[in-house]
């Protein structure tokens, strides 16, 4: 298999998320451990800022120690990159993104950006990597925003009840649906009043444990970055939001974009506090079954035909 780089970036409060959620999730048995046990050359690339260097270095060393002993093929390597001091968070993120993209292109590696506040369901990384043996494709999947405190409580409850059982995708869907952000809660379109028009997501309840989701802007989760992509990112000033929302349009045009349309293949929870976007949510009447999006995305119409499936498995 082509080498995989896991780009793990965290600083400030995100380091807490990385320790509590991000790292434990990618270290679940069918994520990074599965890769290294199946002969994939894995590099753990950590990115942080000077102020958090000691803490992130300790986390990086612990993670590296844990997975390198599992490797059956190529040795697992780890790096730590420090961002420039004194930048605002958005600029720091863009600097890291540039380093990640250039490193992936230069080394011909696939790359998974595992931001500290992303929780990958067990098996998601294995499934993306298995599919992405197909050259050149970039893979997306289900990506659900959740509220940190409630999510943490539910993860703790799972760990208490089933300490030896990883949080697989179906369990993660259950936890994520029980800890939805206000924006997600306002995206259910079985009710006449909802904010789907504003959030770009339309959720529908289709069975006790089965829901459907249309999202206009699925984000890249496992990327295969080529030199022409570096030109693209350079033109757009290495903006991470454009990587997530505009780059897929170019990939679609180049037949390099694939979306895993079921939570069983891939599910990622994105842990949030009380973000401004949720405070601004304004549900409107007359939105029953709506799946249009006011903030048109270039690739939105392609994704609008795709009803993704969320299958939840409740804690017994």
């Amino acid at each position: 298999m082509t080498p995989i780089r896991i780009a793990i970036w965290a600083w400030d409060a995100n380091v807490d998320d990385l320790e509590a959620f991000g790292l434990p999730s990618i270290l679940q048995p069918n994520n990074i451990p599965w890769l290294v046990q199946n002969g994939v050359a894995v590099t753990l690339d950590f990115y942080t800022v000077k102020a958090d260097e000691a803490r992130v270095r300790a986390l990086a060393e612990a993670a590296h120690d844990r997975v390198r002993t599992l490797a059956t093929g190529e040795p697992v390597t780890a790096t730590l990159t420090l961002g420039p001091d004194g930048m605002i968070p958005r600029d720091t993120r863009d600097v890291f993104f540039r380093a990640v993209a250039e490193k992936a292109s230069d080394t011909g590696s696939r790359v998974i950006i595992a931001v500290g506040n992303r929780f990958f369901g067990d098996g998601s990384i294995r499934n993306m990597a298995t599919y992405a043996r197909k050259p050149r494709v970039t893979v997306s999947g289900l990506h659900l925003p959740v509220e940190r405190d409630r999510f943490a409580e539910l993860v703790r409850r799972h760990m208490a009840a089933r300490p030896d059982v990883p949080i697989g995708n179906a369990r993660l869907v259950d936890i994520a649906l029980e800890s939805q952000t206000a924006g997600m809660r306002a995206s259910w379109t079985d009710d006449d009043t909802n904010a789907s028009y504003q959030t770009g997501r339309a959720l529908r309840a289709l069975g006790d444990d089965l829901s459907g989701l249309i999202t206009h802007a699925p984000i890249p989760l496992l990327s295969q970055i080529e030199p022409n992509d570096l030109t693209f990112f350079d033109r757009f000033l290495w903006s991470v939001p454009l990587f997530e929302t505009v780059w897929p349009s170019m990939l679609i045009a180049q037949n390099r974009w694939r979306v895993m349309a079921s939570s069983d293949l891939c599910c990622v929870a994105e842990i949030r506090g009380a973000p401004a976007e949720d405070e601004a949510i304004a549900p409107r009447p007359g939105m029953r079954y709506n799946d249009d999006f006011a903030g048109e995305q270039i690739a939105g119409r392609v994704h609008q035909t795709m009803l993704m499936a969320l299958r939840r498995e409740r804690l017994v």
Binding site: V139, L206, L210, D264, R301, T305, A309, R311
Partner: protein
């Protein structure tokens, strides 16, 4: 008041046996038609048949309507019968049915689900299809695979024997279908260098023991909401039957009326093929150098659109203890 749902049930001749053996038991599973009736959906069973089968289909249709009405005190179930005269070919019969279905859909403004005699619907598929299909104006597709009728029949009987006759969920149906695929679909597995994906339009990849991805260039409409412009479309194409899955979805995509249920957990249908159908119609040559291929030689207007969508198959095997028993 729920939107009425019309089922366009096409059966005649030898298809009647397939219908009673496979299709009918599948649509009568608890989370298919019975679920719709118990949840207050008015159902219209529109039978389309030919003159020499009209009497048998009439009795079958009335019996089915009666059976469904008995499921709930306020059940709203009716049956209609469209009878075509004898035609020179099966294709001509289908064209007449297609015209009738389209006109009926436009006149009644009701969503219509195609129910064909050789289709086996996983339990829950019709519930999901109808629940989602409440969104007005859309046409919905989903996952289906062609299977060998005899082998499928054996595995279905085995399922019923070891589970005491329990229903066949979508995930169980995927398992049965994967063990009875026609050779043309088997040749669509793109994890090997030599395969026929380039001509089958489908590309199947195994991700884990029980999870697969499927790229499919030409999904078929299953629940349709027809509009007057659709009649104009088919007239313009001289009612060519193949346009319904090969070209019409392109127009629906442009009009934002097309949705694909992209996981077998939402909907899965097995299409039973007799050996003659498999050997006469669905033979595909394999070629080397096709590892992970998902390109299709017969470019479709909407093929690239669907190529970005990794549909999912999830299979659920019989528990070993039950299988052994």
């Amino acid at each position: 008041m729920r939107t009425p749902i019309r089922l366009a049930i096409w059966i005649w001749g030898r298809g009647i046996d397939d219908f009673t053996t496979f299709c009918l038991p599948s649509i009568l599973q608890p989370d298919n038609l019975p679920w719709l009736v118990r949840n207050g959906y008015p159902l219209v069973l529109d039978f389309y048949t030919v003159s020499w089968s009209a009497a048998v289909v009439g009795r079958l249709g009335e019996a089915l309507a009666t059976q469904l009405r008995a499921l709930a005190p306020d059940a709203d179930v009716s049956a209609t019968f469209y009878v075509a005269d004898a035609k020179p070919s099966t294709y001509d019969i289908k064209i007449e049915f297609l015209k009738a279905v389209l006109h009926r859909g436009v006149e009644t403004r009701a969503p219509q689900i195609f129910i064909l005699a050789d289709m086996y619907y996983g339990d829950g598929s019709l519930r999901t299809l109808v629940t989602y299909g409440q969104k007005p104006g859309i046409t919905v597709s989903g996952l289906y695979l062609r299977v060998k009728r005899e082998r499928f029949s054996e595995l279905l009987a085995h399922h019923h024997a070891v589970t005491g006759g329990s229903s066949v969920s979508n995930a169980r149906l995927v398992d049965i279908a994967f063990d009875s695929l026609i050779e043309g679909v088997r040749a669509s597995i793109a994890d090997v260098d030599r395969n026929a994906t380039y001509s089958t339009s489908g590309s199947l990849r195994q991700i884990t023991d029980d999870l697969y991805t499927f790229t499919f260039h030409v999904p078929t409409p299953i629940l349709c909401s027809f509009e007057p412009q659709d009649i104009a479309f088919f007239e313009q194409h001289e009612w060519n039957m193949y346009m319904i899955d090969h070209l019409w979805p392109s127009m629906l995509i442009a009009q934002n009326r097309w949705r694909v249920l992209a996981s077998s957990d939402l909907l899965f249908v097995a299409e039973l093929n007799a050996a003659s159908v498999e050997n006469d119609v669905h033979v595909h040559e394999t070629h080397d150098g096709m590892l992970y291929n998902d390109e299709y030689v017969h470019e479709h207007l909407n093929g690239r659109h669907h190529q970005a969508m990794l549909m999912t198959f999830r299979r659920e095997r019989l528990p070993e203890t039950e299988a052994a028993r």
